[in-house]
């Protein structure tokens, strides 16, 4: 869906689960993952719907991932670092409300 407009000169290696990814040194995590063809960043907490970055400027919170063990980070606001370990945001899919509004 996305491709780089300029070639990567200085690269670092980051990890998405068990997958090694070459990223440009100044990529955001979101940009690096998208450039590598990753469109699944995690799941919505309630509906468990899959999600991917929407705004890329820190507003939509649809790019949340886990980075080096820290959860709930916005991938579009974090710059890559060599050896970084990224995992998708775990939606637990607690389900929709019933019609009484109860979870």
């Amino acid at each position: 869906m996305f491709r780089r407009r300029v070639p990567v000169l200085d690269s670092v290696t980051i990890w998405f689960c068990d997958r090694a990814i070459d990223a440009a040194v100044d990529d955001s995590v979101a940009a690096a993952l998208l450039a590598d063809g990753i469109h699944f960043f995690g799941r919505r907490p309630v509906s468990a719907a899959p999600r991917a970055p929407f705004c890329m400027i820190g507003n939509c919170f649809d790019c949340l991932v886990e980075i080096d063990g820290e959860t709930n980070l916005q991938a579009c606001l974090v710059t890559v670092r060599d050896g970084m370990r990224i995992r998708p945001h775990p939606g637990n899919g607690s389900g929709d409300r019933d019609d009484k509004g109860k979870a």
């Binding site: 919505r44 309630v46 409300r97 009484k100 109860k102």
Partner: protein, 371 residues
């Protein structure tokens, strides 16, 4: 010049509810909306459909809010069926959570008085002790001395409500005109009105509803109507989405269908300033994390401020012009709670040509002190 049976000025929650309700009758209804440089109060709502605690010294307002809460279920179902938009209305009842003994005592005194004023109509609420409260709201904090529960309270998504109303209005055949700030209203000898707008739009209408939020005060002057309203700022904080733990809305915290928590709203008199500031946001988050400590673990996504349309007693203004009986002006700060009666009852008043006398309590003459 476009001719309308009814022109509604104002594309916020009130104007859109009237436009939706009025257009359902089949007439030619136009909704005239200023634009995004207007004070967009309807973009800042908290989203409670709330009855509890409302109507002190005015039982008619307590009844009015309750009437709307009852009307909300068929109203939201009809909107959904017609537009396909769910406004996420839930009515599990709501809790007023106090965070210290004094606040708890004050709230109990308030509700007791409201029940006294309601007389034989009754005023439904229960006092909930902390142990029982923990069963309904498991995340409640240890400092909370208790809460009150009202079975009529609920909540909805105010942005989806606004969108559904405008969509439903257009499906009813209504004509929405954006970027049209009204600059002049001319009453005609025939009883109708001529409405001039920025951008060259001009409308003729038999009837006219002014529901322009803070703009209503100025627009009323074109027809000699005094609308005594002023802004009270509210700030709201929204957290990231989290798993669903809150089955009920409360006075200061609710969880949306997406899992976000909304915290707030504050109430400050700062004129037309609609910027957030740190001390108020701190007070909101302190209060809400005292009531629900688990919120401390969540990230804040954003915050905003909006400007309520307030009156001296906090109750709505529903006014029909004496000089030009085809003109009405409606203002209030409870655009979400009262949306259901605005789209039904109040729209019916305009179609019938008269505000029933039992609702004369909402006439602004109540603010005039007899000499």
């Amino acid at each position: 010049m476009k001719h309308l049976d009814i022109a509604v000025i104002g594309g916020g929650l009130l104007g859109s509810a009237f436009a939706y309700g009025l257009s359902a009758d089949g007439g030619r209804v136009g909704l005239i909306d200023e634009g995004d440089h207007a004070i967009r109060t309807a973009r800042g709502n908290f989203g409670l459909v709330w009855v509890q605690g409302k109507g002190l010294n005015m039982p008619d307002y307590a009844r009015w809010s309750l009437r709307s809460a009852y009307a909300w279920t068929p109203f939201s179902e009809q909107l959904h069926a017609q537009t396909g938009i769910s406004v996420e209305y839930h009515r599990p009842g709501g809790f007023y959570v106090s965070i210290d003994e004094q606040e708890f005592a004050d709230n109990l005194a308030l509700l007791k008085q409201l029940r006294n004023e309601a007389g034989e109509d009754g005023y439904d609420y229960e006092i909930v002790e902390p142990s029982a409260l923990r069963k309904q709201l498991p995340e409640i904090g240890p400092a909370v001395p208790g809460a009150t529960y009202c079975p009529h309270d609920g909540h909805a998504n105010p942005l989806k409500l606004l969108r559904a109303l405008q969509e439903g209005f257009q499906l009813n055949g209504g004509v929405y005109t954006p970027r049209a700030r009204v600059t002049l209203i001319v009453p005609l000898k025939s009883g109708g009105f001529e409405i001039h707008c920025d951008g060259g739009h001009r409308f003729g209408s038999d009837k006219l509803v002014i529901a322009a939020g803070h703009g209503s005060a100025e627009l009323g002057h074109h027809l000699g109507m005094e609308i005594p309203i002023f802004p009270v700022q509210g700030q709201v904080v929204v957290t990231e989405r989290a798993e669903m733990t809150m089955a009920y809305p409360t006075n200061y915290v609710r969880q949306t269908d997406d899992g976000n928590y909304l915290l707030g709203p504050s109430a400050r008199d700062v004129g037309f300033n609609d910027e957030t500031e740190t001390t108020t946001l701190r007070d909101i988050t302190r209060r809400c994390t005292t009531a629900f400590p688990h919120l401390k673990r969540l990230r804040v996504q954003r915050s905003w401020a909006a400007l309520r349309i307030m009156t001296a007693d906090g109750f709505p203004i529903y006014l029909q012009s004496e000089a030009y009986p085809g003109a009405y002006s409606f203002s209030c700060h409870s655009g979400v709670t009262l949306a259901a009666v605005h789209a039904t009852d109040v729209s019916r008043w305009v179609l019938d040509g008269q505000i029933p006398s039992r609702y004369s309590c909402f006439h602004p003459e109540r603010f005039n002190v007899p000499a």
